[in-house]
């Protein structure tokens, strides 16, 4: 007879696999929102939406056993938090910084996808 914790581990492994499979789509959505920010010349609402998406990803990725993805998402979240309350000009260095941080996040997601193939991810 399996213990409740063993049952939970099995269910968590399944949930983590489902979450990891959906992660590239979440990143694509975040990048789409970032493109919208740029197209709308730093529109504050679009920037807040981007911040919220990253905040959610930072909270959920770590809970689903992907702490490195969580950390990268948190880094972009915190950077945006630092600029969202002041004048944001997507043409200046802030754009390059967010591009770089999002690139690091995507790389981490791709690395997690490679590492996660055929096995469960490590818990947070």
């Amino acid at each position: 007879m399996t213990s409740p914790s063993a049952d939970l581990e099995a269910q968590l492994t399944s949930l983590r696999a489902d979450y990891a499979a959906l992660l590239p789509g979440k990143i694509a959505s975040i990048e789409q929102t970032w493109r919208a920010v740029l197209l709308e010349h730093g529109d504050r609402q679009a920037l807040k939406q981007l911040h919220r998406s990253l905040h959610i990803l930072a909270g959920s990725a770590g809970t689903y056993g992907l702490p490195s993805v969580s950390d990268k998402a948190r880094a972009v979240e915190l950077y945006i938090e630092s600029v969202v309350h002041c004048a944001f000009d997507p043409a200046d260095a802030q754009r390059d910084q967010i591009d770089a941080l999002l690139g690091a996040l995507r790389a981490e997601v791709e690395a997690a996808a490679v590492c996660g193939r055929g096995k469960g991810s490590d818990p947070a």
């Binding site: 409740p4 914790s5 049952d7 939970l8 581990e9 269910q11 968590l12 949930l15 979450y19 919220r52 905040h55 959610i56 930072a58 909270g59 959920s60 990725a61 770590g62 809970t63 689903y64 702490p67 969580s70 948190r74 979240e77 915190l78 938090e81 818990p123 947070a124």
Partner: protein, 133 residues
Amino acid sequence: MSSLRVLVVEDEPDIRVIAQLALEGVGGFAVRCVASGAEALNAVPEFAPDLILLDVMMPGMDGPETLQALRRIPAAVDTPTVFLTAKAQTRDIDHLQHLGAVAVLTKPFDPMTLAATVTRIWEKHHDQPVRGS
């Protein structure tokens, strides 16, 4: 098995799913999950939770606003409430506790220990063990 009744108020579906699994699977709690503060206000009279796990950052009514509204409902006027928040907001923990939360948990959390953490918080608040544990 414990019969602690926990209401989870969280707008993010991924977190709701894993919190419910962790609290039911390990803690043996009776868990109800809702996606907003408004849904929480509707759920409380019927579900009568022993403890509320409340996300801070939600669209519409946020966590602190939801807590204020809950305190006006007789069934939740003194229900211990735990805020669930992100690491980026840990500087606000003192502020959140002053709003009436008995504890503040941060996301990400470890699903394997969430039930034990909730049990400790409940027992500390009531100065007695969880029923049936």
